[in-house]
């Protein structure tokens, strides 16, 4: 007996674009992004909210997309790494990640960048130790942690000097 699983339509904004898509209610936001929308920049590292590789922004906050059912995203605005910048027009954080070699294999990088975006925007995080703590939900097995912290410190300093909008994309604010 084959029972078709329940489905629902998700209506959301992803990287500034309106999305309306009918999905299996068990589908996670991570799988919606990757399998339905082809936004494979967001990675699956554990599927259990333990590694941070799937971090995206939802309504301006960092969220583990593997722990969020896609259907709970209706009416929300999602930003993924694809919404940050392109190889030709990099976001300041992406550019700083390159300069400080804040990645090696690159698999955790999208999640690190999205988390870093939140840490840059959070004015209560000012010291190196605070930044390390706030980035500790994003595992990096290659061990690029030092570069990640350096990149965040630099972008924080620059965005502070230039006004805080400079370092955050329009979709996030």
């Amino acid at each position: 007996m084959h029972n078709t699983p329940p489905s629902m339509t998700v209506t959301a904004t992803v990287n500034g674009q309106p999305v309306a898509i009918t999905v299996d209610v068990r589908r996670t936001l991570l799988d919606l992004l990757r399998e339905d929308l082809g936004l494979t920049g967001t990675k699956k590292g554990c599927d259990h909210g333990q590694c941070g590789a799937c971090t995206v922004f939802v309504d301006g906050r960092r969220v583990l997309s593997c722990l969020k059912l896609a259907v709970t995203t209706s009416g929300q605005a999602v930003t993924t790494v694809e919404g940050l910048g392109t190889p030709d027009v990099l976001h300041p954080l992406q550019e700083a990640f390159m300069r400080y070699d804040a990645f090696q294999c690159g698999y955790c990088t999208s999640g690190q960048l999205m988390s870093a975006l939140a840490v840059v925007a959070d004015e209560s995080l000012t010291t190196r130790d605070q930044i390390r703590e706030a980035m500790s939900g994003n595992l990096c097995r290659c061990g690029a942690y030092q570069g990640i912290v350096e990149a965040i410190i630099e972008v924080k300093a620059r965005s502070h000097a230039a006004g805080s909008e400079d370092a955050t994309p329009d979709a996030i604010v």
Partner: protein, 733 residues
């Protein structure tokens, strides 16, 4: 002239990685793709009586369920010993052959009813969606008659095998007679234990198989596309040219993707049977059992020294497990043979079969656990002799490779000690434990030596100069985060006097020229000489085409010359030969770690607060990526020292922490700033550029330096890793 080599160039693949455009194996989405997911055995030993699949088959979207009952016939899926020998199960077989002439039957999941380790795949479900596959996998019900299983090493009662040669070294070395325990001799004799570790690269291994007629393309996450192609082709009974393996980006490997594992072939077998593309991505729990691990070790180390510290005897006996069916074991004694000269030398390995999944190389296999034991013992000896550990190690600098009776091509270990100690501010004189305190924390410093071989294997690099577009560099080598894309671009740029931006490096495709698997720190010295030769061959071919001598080409745009010759493109290949058999000197890299820890005895908390590592790895091609590699290695050592420990249920022999919440790896807050110093002396007897690989050398020695620092801080010698809070608190009682 070297303009690019030696420059801290940003990764050329960086823009792809920071924008999410880099496509890893599971990011490929061929049309009509099916999703495969494994069902794991909950018991460690037993016989499958039957597997109930009716409920699973009723799930909407389920396409197929394979178990040992139908997989052999439906998928042409068999444990062919010749194929198994190519896989991770076969590595080490030659070493064990001397002790165990008859190999145990090869293991391949879903080829029989026997369960040989917990987590073994007993079924694979295939569905049109991830959700359907997940639901069905939970409904597959195996009926298993369980047997007794053991994962405990019992030094007294277990039956140990004595392997022969492994990693080009005798695993049973005995030279000279153990000296009489005369007066005025200092002796350290202790047992050290290191934990089982999981590689856990951030990218779970994944294979996407897409058939086109009688040929298959396999998008895979592997450190070696050529080895994977051979394994998959032999498994499918296909000629090599019918299998293409693509692994352009790999989300970390660390050895877990160095060998080939069943899923890589299985995805292709299922895709062939079902006539649709199949993605098989391992879950995080699978990653703990289905692609190898570093086994635990028990090591007895005995050192004997004269009162001035000169070493008279060294004994290093390892007891290490392998699986019931595989062959790999940790060759823990390798660095003892290479680094320490003693008139009496005994380095032995005893291997025991236990109900584990098969272990496999993990970043500096052998050297890493072995260095923890021996570098801890040397520190204990220094304290027993009332000498500074650095002074004692300077005495022990190996003047040559005594084990192989060869000179070193180049050895700057003394310079590593000198520059590392200076940058760190290493104290002089005897180090008195518990002498430094800051509030509620004790502070201690420790150091250790690291060393790693510098191998090289034959490789081929192809260049393609085109009238339009970037100059292309192609080889089947993979960049698993090492920086291979970047250092190949730098090398070719220097040879052709081009900027790095004018070069496009293409890697990780078995249709590209042959390169060895990325592992054992061999890729730099294998690939860069081939790239140099390819660039020179290209210039010669261009000179011949335009009928002009080479010297006049140097300042002329290559593309203009190509146009002048009336050619659209021009290709050239270059090769390297790797290390020759019967080499006259030994090629090794050396280094020293200096580490400060703070220990809160009330909480049992150990924090690594400062690390300075000085390394002799030949000429450094790219200080930026090289520094990252070393830092990453050191962080693996920190994880090993303080937290990593694959734990087993005491009676069920099943891993209880096969996930990233319970198996702790270092996070950002665990890691201090790590200062990496390269001595940078080119090793020109090794190759023209004087470059050596450096993917592993950061790991050995790090855990010992931390344990030695914990001793300096607390007076407590921890010989069992990881150094947990409970170990510290117990010792403080």
């Amino acid at each position: 002239m070297l303009k690019q080599i030696g420059i801290a160039q940003n990764r050329v693949d960086g823009p792809m990685k920071v924008t999410g455009e880099a496509a890893y194996a599971a990011d490929r989405r061929p049309g009509g793709q099916l999703y495969a997911l494994a069902v794991r055995s909950p018991v460690a030993a037993g016989t499958i009586t039957r597997i109930e699949t009716a409920a699973a088959k009723s799930v909407a979207g389920i396409v197929a369920i394979y178990t040992h009952a139908n997989a052999p016939a439906a998928l042409d899926w068999h444990a062919d010993p010749a194929v198994m020998a190519l896989s991770g199960e076969g590595l080490g077989r030659q070493a064990l052959e001397a002790a165990e002439p008859e190999a145990p039957p090869p293991y391949l999941p879903m080829t029989g009813p026997d369960i040989v380790f917990a987590g073994q795949w007993i079924a694979v479900v295939v569905a049109t969606s991830l959700e359907a596959a997940r639901e069905a996998s939970l409904l597959v019900k195996p009926i298993i008659e369980p047997h007794e299983a053991s994962v405990e090493i019992d030094a007294r009662n277990d039956r140990f095998l004595e392997p022969g040669f492994f990693f080009a070294a005798d695993m049973q070395v005995q030279r000279g007679a153990w000296p009489d325990t005369a007066a005025k001799q200092q002796i350290v004799s202790e047992t050290y234990r290191t934990p089982m570790q999981n590689h856990h690269p951030m990218e779970p291994s994944a294979t996407v198989a897409v058939w086109d007629g009688d040929a298959v393309t396999v998008f895979d996450s592997t450190q070696g596309v050529m080895a994977t192609r051979e394994y998959v082709a032999r498994s499918l009974k296909l000629p090599l040219d019918k299998v293409r393996v693509i692994s352009a980006f790999v989300g970390g490997g660390f050895g877990g993707k160095n060998q080939t594992w069943p899923h890589q072939a299985l995805a292709a077998h299922i895709a062939r049977a079902l006539g649709r593309p199949v993605r098989l991505q391992l879950t995080r729990a699978d990653m703990a059992v289905a692609s190898g691990h570093r086994s635990q070790t028990e090591q007895d180390v005995a050192l004997q020294a004269a009162s001035d510290g000169s070493l008279t005897a060294l004994r290093h006996v390892s007891r290490v497990p392998t699986s019931l069916h595989g062959n790999f074991f940790e060759p823990s004694g390798l660095n003892s043979l290479m680094l320490y000269e003693a008139a009496a030398l005994g380095v032995r390995h005893h291997v025991v079969r236990k109900a584990f999944a098969t272990p496999t190389p993990f970043r500096a296999p052998g050297e890493t656990p072995g260095s923890f034991a021996v570098e801890s013992a040397v520190d204990e000896l220094a304290h027993a002799l009332a000498q500074n550990p650095l002074d004692l190690r300077q005495r022990y600098i190996p003047s040559r490779d005594h084990y192989h009776d060869r000179d070193w091509s180049s050895n700057n270990l003394l310079e590593c000690y000198r520059r590392g100690a200076e940058a760190f501010g290493w104290p002089e004189g005897v180090i008195v434990p518990r002498a430094r305190r800051d509030g509620h924390e004790l502070i201690g410093v420790g150091m250790a030596t690291t060393a790693y071989p510098a191998p090289a294997l034959p490789a081929i690099v192809r260049l393609r100069l085109r009238v339009e577009g970037k100059l292309q560099v192609e080889t089947s080598a993979t960049d698993i985060g090492t920086g291979m894309y970047t250092i190949l671009a730098q090398t070719v740029a220097d040879e052709l006097s081009l900027p790095v931006e004018a070069i496009e490096v293409r890697l990780g495709d078995s249709n590209f020229p042959h390169a060895p698997t990325a592992g054992r720190s061999k890729s730099t010295a294998s690939l860069l000489p081939a790239a140099q030769h390819a660039a020179r061959a290209l210039l010669q071919r261009l000179a011949a085409a335009v009928r002009e001598p080479l010297s006049e080409l140097s300042n002329v745009a290559l593309q203009d010359r190509l146009k002048a010759a009336g050619l659209a493109e021009l290709e050239a290949e270059g090769s390297s030969t790797g290390l020759q058999v019967g080499q006259q000197v030994s090629f090794y890299s050396f280094g020293a770690h200096f580490i400060e820890v703070r220990v809160d005895e009330a909480l049992g908390r150990v924090s690594v607060t400062r690390v300075v590592s000085a390394l002799d790895c030949g000429r450094i091609v790219n200080p930026k990526t090289a520094t990252s590699q070393i830092r990453g290695g050191i962080i693996f050592g920190i994880g090993m020292a303080l937290m990593e420990d694959a734990a087993f249920h005491p009676t069920r022999a099943r891993m209880i922490n096969d996930n990233l919440a319970d198996y702790a790896i270092p996070v950002n807050a665990d890691i201090p700033e790590i200062d990496v110093i390269f001595v940078g002396e080119p090793d020109n007897r090794f190759n023209e550029l004087g470059v050596r690989g450096l993917g592993e050398i950061g790991v050995p020695g790090t855990a010992a330096a931390i344990a030695n620092a914990v001793f300096a801080a607390t007076g407590q010698r921890v010989r069992n890793l990881p150094i947990t809070p409970s170990a510290i608190v117990r010792g403080g009682e």
